[in-house]
Symmetry: C2
Subunit: 394 residues, 2 copies
């Protein structure tokens, strides 16, 4: 059989996506996914928008579009980030992407030769790790504390490895739920400028804030044009429409656009137009505000249940927003076998944390809990059962 | 500034896409694009389908989907290729893709290391050439005659270069409009098996047949599981929805699926669902039948006008379908400067053919004409003016 490319050798598909194919059983209480709650989807609004769009410009939407993006979508996004995030941009700064996963991938293509170093928070989003592995990059993890990545270690490792890219999720990070502090955001932008390193600021969760004040994006400190901000509508509007945006310096966006021509020509017009209308009609902010209380209640229910039922030895994060809580059991307690027991014996699922580390051995006693997918009664019941299992494992 | 990856060095974006940004002037008669005629888009049907889909399964469509594709889409496609093309497949053979461009890209990622050889018809689709260049492949062109690629030359060059991939558009090829003969289709499948070479059978135009009988896909001769068929709904339903399918042996589809996880997680559910419904409701065949007469009239109008107005020295293909006619002027007549004069002085556009060749020098006196985008009166007028310019150039 024809030999596959070298890059395929150490890649086996997303462990989580494989894992969760097994979880078809509706009885299973799942804290394992990262899906937004289905009750948050504004189906009726999307339906109305689709009707209007197809009536008014059906032939434009069904025809080929520009690789850069559908004009009204780019303009609505530029307006939105200007008002909501204080970022000034024009069309030369923006590329419409097929979800922010595509943004990560296009940046790898534009910048990474095999062997180039990419720095990542440890732990981090495993989809990004998989993309970086496919790009045959050398991954350099940087430790975090409760305020996010540790800047001294970041700079030290930058000096040592001279990375082309630093990938981070500064707000309500996946998987930890942690948020990078204001001062550290400023420092990341400084380091990017000082060491000629591109920062991928992946920011899909920032609008899901349930308490405390929003922090500015790293991009707002980016005088050197080294930060590429990735935004997604997956967590606010719908992940199934696969629409996001990359925002950065024009020469970088231009190269990403060239890569995107080869990747998928352009993102579907109709899905871009749905997101555009949602923003342009002023629906986005009220919609987000309408879904926050439900998520907040779920997070609080999970945190309360953790306090009540988890062993004290399991250290859990207390995020200000997002979709995830992160737990750390004492070293030596292995969460992968616990996952299997949890699913089979207790019908509760979580994600064993090791998948989120460059070196899984470091994360063998960690776990990620998602609180968005289940109703509150099942959250409490599931955490109680999981707590029992965790106590048993000590 | 952070250095871009080596693969970006010889890539400058699609020449045509750049060229046609200049053609905003509606006065210009354009034979340059490859867009389906906008009057063929079934806007009302799509609107009805969208309404029904969002009403019946809105939350499913707005949620994350499987990388493999939206189940009802995969099933409808499998049923469709079974009935229409006589290809037996199940879900393990199929991957939903974001347009067939993504299929070409994913196959490169799964198979191509820098320096690996890819064989292509000469000339061929320039989007594919760009993707192969980004993959840092060694491109090996194979000559064509009126029956498509010349098999003896193909085998000779396979022996010499041992390519991993052979990329071809066997039916109404872009840019030539030529169709690979039945016997040669069989031979391509044999060579793929004999020399352990994967064939990308890119087949977006085959349903746009205006005369003579359909030919079976190369895939139907593929006992060795070496052919990956790429289908697209861009030319039959809508290019703006960006939906296609890759069909091949399960172990190959599995690797493409892993690459797709990193590329865009999954294709938008709603656009897959639109295509699925279009097939499942039995709308596809009658819709295609309804658009063929219009395209046929346009092609005939262009061919008649060419007979009347083009110099005899310009040899043009006479396709049985598709969207393109290919012209060859005598060596020494350069079509790139003629393109500039045509646009500026005559307000007529075509594509200078050199962009479709691995070595542009070979194609300097060729041109591609698209007949789908303009109404018949403008086709006749445009060809008359272009004919005048071509005669002048001799």
């Amino acid at each position: 059989m024809t030999k596959f490319a070298d890059r395929m050798e150490h890649v086996s598909g997303s462990a989580i996506r494989e894992l969760f194919k097994l979880l078809g059983d509706p009885e299973i209480i799942s804290f394992g996914g990262g899906n937004p709650a289905k009750e948050t989807f504004p189906v009726d609004m999307v339906m109305g928008i689709c009707d209007d769009l197809l009536t008014q410009k059906g032939t434009v939407l069904l025809q080929y579009g520009a690789t850069e993006g559908y004009g009204p979508y780019l303009d609505a996004y530029i307006d939105y980030v200007g008002k909501e995030k204080g970022i000034k941009a024009d069309r030369s700064n923006v590329l419409a992407i097929t979800g922010s996963m595509q943004g990560i991938d296009l940046i790898c293509r534009a910048f990474i030769n095999p062997g180039d170093a990419i720095m990542v928070e440890s732990p981090t989003f495993l989809g990004a790790l998989q993309t970086f592995n496919l790009a045959q990059a050398k991954l350099v993890p940087v430790s975090m504390d409760e305020e996010g990545v540790i800047i001294e270690e970041l700079e030290e490792k930058i000096k040592l490895h001279r990375p082309k890219l630093y990938y981070c999720i500064p707000t309500f990070q996946n998987p930890t739920g942690r948020t990078l502090s204001l001062e550290r955001r400023r420092r990341v932008a400084e380091l990017a400028a000082k060491y000629d390193m591109v920062v991928i600021e992946d920011d899909p969760y920032c609008e899901l804030r349930y308490r405390n004040e929003p922090l500015p994006c790293i991009k707002t400190f980016d005088d050197a044009g080294q930060v590429i901000l990735l935004n997604s509508f997956s967590k606010t509007l719908s992940p199934g429409i696969r629409v996001g945006a990359a925002l950065g310096a024009p020469e970088k966006i231009r190269k990403l656009t060239i890569c995107k021509q080869s990747a998928d020509t352009h993102t579907a017009n109709i899905t871009q137009a749905i997101a555009a209308e949602f923003m342009a009609r002023g629906l986005m902010k009220p919609h987000i505000e309408s879904i926050l209380p439900g998520y907040n209640s779920k997070m609080n229910a999970m945190l309360d249940a953790i306090d009540e039922f988890f062993p004290k030895e399991c250290q859990c994060t207390r995020p200000d927003g997002g979709l995830f809580i992160w737990g750390k059991m004492p070293d030596g307690v292995l969460t992968l076998p616990l996952f299997e027991r949890a699913v089979k014996e207790y019908k509760v699922a979580f994600v064993p944390g090791e998948h989120f580390f460059c070196d899984p051995a470091i994360g063998r006693s960690t776990l990620r809990l998602n609180f968005s997918a289940e109703p509150i009664d099942r959250i409490c019941k599931g955490i109680e059962m999981l707590g029992g299992l965790l106590k048993e494992s000590l």
